[in-house]
C-alpha cells in the first residue's frame, strides 16, 4: 500500500491506495494534481532523514508528504 500524507490542522490526513489498483491509482493521481495545483509541495521520503521533491505523480512512491505553501512568518 502507498500512502499520501497531507499536513492539516489535525496534524495530517492520510490516504492509502494500492499501486496495483488502476482506479485507486487514478484517484491518488487526481489528489496529487489537486494538491499541487493548490500550492502544496509533494515530498518523497527516502529514509535516514532524506527526502526528494516530487514534480509529478509517481504511483511507485510508498510515502508522499504534502506540505502547504510556505509563507514568511
Amino acid at each position: 500500500m502507498a500512502t499520501q500524507i497531507v499536513m492539516d490542522h489535525t496534524g495530517d490526513s492520510r490516504h492509502q491506495f494500492d499501486p496495483a489498483d488502476a482506479a485507486a491509482v487514478a484517484k491518488a493521481e487526481a489528489r496529487f494534481k489537486k494538491l499541487a495545483g493548490a500550492g502544496f509541495t509533494a515530498v518523497k521520503r527516502l529514509g535516514e532523514g532524506k527526502s526528494e521533491i516530487l514534480r509529478s505523480f509517481d504511483p511507485t512512491v510508498e510515502e508522499t508528504l504534502f506540505i502547504p505553501r510556505l509563507q514568511g512568518g
Binding site: I5, M7, D8, H9, T10, G11, D12, G39, T41, V43, R45, E48, G49, K50, S51, E52, I53, L65, I67, P68, R69, L70, Q71, G72, G73
Partner: protein
C-alpha cells in the same frame, strides 16, 4: 416571600455551577484535542528526521539541518515562528529566520516543513522568509 427569594438564589447558583462545569469540560476537550494534534505532528516529524536529528531533538528540543544551496547550518527549535537559527562555524546564531506552511498547523508539522525546505530548496524558502539578526 422569603422562600421565593431563597429559591431564586438557589437556582442562580445552580445555573452558575452548570455553566462553570460546561466551561471546564469544553476547555478540557480543547486541551485534549490540541495535545493530540501536537503529538501526532511530532510523531510524523520524528519519522522524517535522520537518526542524528532525532537524537538532537529528543535531547535538546531542536535539531540541525544543512542548507541545500549554501551548505549553511541551521538549528530548528521546537516551535512555529522565529524558530530557525542560522549558525556560524562556531555555532553562534548569526540570523533568525521565520517561514512556515500556511494554515494553523502544529509545531511538529511546521518544523518538518522547515527541515525539508532548507534541505531541498533553501534559497526559495529563505526568499519568502522574514529574518532578523541573531545574537552571536
Amino acid at each position: 416571600m422569603i422562600w421565593a427569594e431563597v429559591g431564586k438564589v438557589v437556582i442562580g447558583v445552580a445555573l452558575m455551577a452548570i455553566s462553570a462545569g460546561l466551561a471546564v469540560v469544553l476547555m478540557a476537550g480543547m486541551e485534549t484535542t490540541s495535545g493530540r494534534v501536537e503529538r501526532k505532528a511530532v510523531t510524523l516529524l520524528q519519522l522524517w528526521l535522520s537518526p542524528e536529528q532525532a537524537e538532537q531533538y529528543s535531547s535538546y528540543g531542536h535539531f540541525e539541518v544543512i542548507g541545500s544551496d549554501t551548505g549553511t547550518r541551521y538549528r530548528i527549535r521546537h516551535g512555529r515562528v522565529m524558530n530557525i537559527d542560522q549558525l556560524d562555524s562556531a555555532g553562534n546564531t548569526v540570523c533568525e529566520w521565520c517561514f512556515a506552511p500556511k494554515g494553523n498547523l502544529a509545531a511538529g508539522d511546521c518544523m518538518l516543513a522547515q527541515k525539508i525546505a532548507l534541505e531541498r530548496f533553501e534559497s526559495g524558502a529563505l526568499a519568502i522568509a522574514n529574518h532578523r539578526p541573531g545574537q552571536a
